[in-house]
């Protein structure tokens, strides 16, 4: 799952400007310059009034000093930007402005300029904290007192002691009110700003969540699209999904092709059972002991989690197809059973081919056996004819013919047998088989050949025999194969040892020579030779049909490579194991293990 991308617009949500201005003014965050501007403007108006003569000029020096100090203070405020210094200037600049009003008042000798007090006084009282109010009151007093002080030094007499007291008092009281109002306003502004910030954060969160949701929705849609496109891309297999009652919910193009109905005519309209043969379901339900209908169809999948077998699908046109169907239960997002999936591969042609191959092999083996019957039959008549005995040479030649006819016959049998194993038609005739007897008879059958080749055979079997459940003919065939192989691959002077004993096999498959508590008894036949051996790289392929070890080819040992494949098939069919240990040039041991 990819991380949700959050755009810069979301994180950088701006605080609205209009609130910023307001709260800055009342929370002391505005610059000193900002605050001194109203005063400066008033001074500029005063300067204009003085210049036009609207206001009288009594003492030009004082007027100039007043205006100069006012504009100088503003200029200083303009130049100072450091916050630390700005804090003190916030009080100093209006104070200087008050002084300038005092100077102007003295210089004009008119109370008219006192309107100029309004600017610095308001600036001071609006300053956070009560200090500004005090400074405003004292400054006002100073400004009112200044003309008196200057006048007394030149012309003492006229004074307004009442105004000197009332002015600062009014400024102090009014200032307190303004200051408190400003404080409350600042508090409200701060709250508004906080709420605004919270709202912005919430908005950002909502936006993020909305984006995530949008992303997830898109991914889900993409995933669904992928699934659909994958299912739709399957045109050679039918993918059918049903609900628990067998009503079809999923129907891919493969199903359309196989069963000849388009999706809209099937989904939610038809049951999977409409495409099955009722008699086939009936037979399965009898066999499994399950209920009929859908229960019979999904019985094995329900029992084992999944089931693969051939079913007959009936297409819309009534045509029947042999389909290998994998059935699995489907669960919903809560893990509850939601229905069934049926994935089918049309095996009609493949099964027909298998049948043909099967019939072909049967036919060929029948056709080969018939002439062999004549060859072997008439050979026997000639060889056994006591009335017209053969010369030794004739007998030798005909014996060679007979031996090769026998070999051909065995080959035909082996081919037929492998075909039966392939077709799954390999059946065992179970009975009690004494393996000791089987081993001894295998030894007997190769005794002459072994003696001729100079190979000694040692037979070590339990005197009392060792009985296993199995097919006597097939076990004999397996044993004969191993023993004749051992003799064939052992050079002159070598030895073949046949050892049969009881052993114990633990559930993990390991075999021990001594009894163990959790081990089951097994019969173990070891066929060891001192022959040419099998290269380790070839040992894995040894049981593959028609495989011949390089050592066998190099030493021109006759054979077609069916014996071990057949022996392995027989062993497996008996629930046993066939293993080998071999070293090139040293010999080979085949171990056949059969359950008792």
């Amino acid at each position: 799952m990819t991380a949700v991308e959050v755009g810069p617009a979301v994180l950088g949500h701006p605080t609205p400007r209009r609130f910023g201005r307001l709260t800055a003014l009342f929370s002391g965050q505005s610059t000193v310059l900002d605050r001194s501007l109203p005063s400066t403007v008033l001074f500029a108006v005063a300067a204009l009034l003085l210049g036009t003569g609207t206001l009288p000029v009594a003492d030009g020096e004082l007027v100039l000093a007043g205006l100069a100090s006012a504009f100088l203070a503003t200029l200083v405020a303009r130049l100072v930007t450091q916050p630390a210094v700005a804090g003190d200037l916030a009080l100093v600049v209006p104070l200087v402005h008050l002084g300038a009003v005092g100077l102007l008042s003295a210089g004009t000798g008119s109370a008219g300029v006192l309107f100029l007090l309004l600017g610095p006084v308001l600036t001071l009282v609006a300053t956070p904290g009560r200090r500004g109010v005090l400074v405003a009151a004292l400054g006002t007093a100073g400004a009112l007192l200044l003309p008196e002080l200057l006048a007394s030094s030149t012309a003492p007499g006229t004074s307004l002691p009442g105004a000197l007291l009332l002015g600062p008092l009014a400024v102090g009281l009014g200032g307190l009110g303004v200051n408190e109002g400003a404080r409350r306003l600042a508090g409200q502004a701060a709250r508004i700003e906080r709420l605004e910030n919270e709202r912005a954060v919430l908005l950002a969160q909502v936006q993020t969540r909305a984006d995530e949701l949008d992303q997830a929705t898109r991914m889900l849609a993409a995933r669904a699209q992928t699934m659909t496109s994958v299912i739709d891309a399957v045109t050679e297999q039918s993918i059918i999904g049903t609900d628990r009652d067998g009503v079809i919910r999923v129907w891919n193009p493969g199903a359309e092709k196989m069963l000849g109905l388009p999706r809209p005519e099937v989904v939610r309209k038809r049951s999977i059972l409409e495409f099955h043969l009722p008699e086939e379901l009936e037979a399965v339900s009898e066999e499994d002991g399950s209920a009929t209908g859908l229960a019979a169809l999904v019985h094995a999948a329900q029992e084992h989690g999944s089931d693969v077998r051939d079913w007959t699908y009936v297409a819309a046109d009534g045509q029947q197809r042999t389909v290998s169907v994998a059935i699995t239960p489907r669960t919903d997002d809560q893990g509850a059973h939601a229905g069934w999936n049926f994935v089918g591969t049309d095996m009609t042609e493949a099964r027909a081919t298998e049948r043909m191959k099967d019939q072909f092999v049967s036919l060929i083996s029948h056709e080969l056996r018939t002439p062999l019957t004549s060859i072997l039959g008439y050979l026997e008549l000639v060889l056994e004819d006591e009335e017209q005995p053969l010369t030794d040479e004739q007998r030798s030649f005909l014996t060679t013919v007979e031996r090769n006819a026998d070999r051909l016959l065995r080959l035909v049998g082996d081919l037929l047998f492998t075909a039966q194993v392939d077709a799954g038609r390999f059946t065992l005739k179970p009975e009690d088989v004494d393996l000791a007897t089987v081993v001894r008879s295998a030894e007997e059958s190769v005794r002459v050949t072994a003696a001729a080749a100079g190979v000694g055979i040692v037979v070590d079997v339990p005197a009392g025999g060792l009985v296993v459940p199995g097919d006597a003919v097939r076990l004999g065939q397996a044993c004969d194969n191993l023993v004749s192989n051992a003799v064939k691959f052992t050079p002159d002077g070598g030895q073949v040892t046949l050892t049969l004993r009881t052993a114990w096999q633990t559930p993990d498959g390991a075999v021990y020579t001594d009894a163990r508590p959790d081990a089951a008894p097994v019969a173990q036949l070891a066929v060891s030779d001192t022959g040419i051996g099998i290269p380790s790289t070839e040992q894995g392929k040894l049981f593959t049909r028609f495989f011949r070890a390089s050592t066998a080819q190099k030493n021109a040992v006759p054979g077609v490579g069916l014996g071990l494949a057949i022996t392995k098939a027989i062993t497996t069919a008996h629930g046993g194991m066939l293993d080998l240990v071999s070293a090139e040039g040293a010999g080979t041991t085949f171990t056949l293990t059969l359950p008792l």
């Binding site: 018939t370 019957t373 060859i375 072997l376 026997e380 039966q420 059946t427």
Partner: protein, 142 residues
């Protein structure tokens, strides 16, 4: 094959003298071989045919003691002839030996289910066939 009981060692015993045998196989060489084996057993071959329906007609006409039938024959298979012979009371007593190139358990079971007394897989040993013929006919009162 319960019929494979030790046969008398003698070449031609009075047991088989006059025993009449029908041979049916579509392969001429094998038919000749079977005929030889039957004669070796001391029996008389009353008919030698190459197809199933002829075998059935001849069996009904001759009522032999033993019919040696190949399984795969044109006209009617050995199994069909077998069933037909068993179904008719007049021919139900004829002993039947089936020969077949199919040697699987299913083949043997099908043969015995059709009513054959014995079953021999091809290729067979001539001596084995001789023994079978003797065993099957010796039980029959001559």
């Amino acid at each position: 094959m319960d019929a494979a009981q030790p046969a008398p060692a003698a070449v031609a015993t009075p047991d088989t003298a006059g025993v009449r045998v029908l041979v049916a196989d579509d392969e001429d060489d094998i038919r000749a071989l079977v005929t030889l084996a039957v004669r070796k057993a001391g029996c008389t071959v009353v008919g030698s045919v190459a197809d199933g329906s002829a075998a059935l007609d001849l069996a009904r006409a001759e009522l032999p003691h033993l019919a040696v039938l190949d399984v795969s024959m044109p006209g009617a298979t050995g199994l069909e002839v077998c069933v037909a012979l068993r179904a008719d009371p007049a021919t139900a007593g004829i002993r039947i030996l089936l020969l077949s190139a199919g040697a699987s358990l299913e083949d043997v079971a099908a043969g015995l289910a059709a009513g054959a007394d014995a079953y021999l897989a091809k290729p067979f040993q001539v001596s084995g066939l001789v023994q079978q013929v003797r065993a099957l006919t010796a039980r029959q009162p001559a």
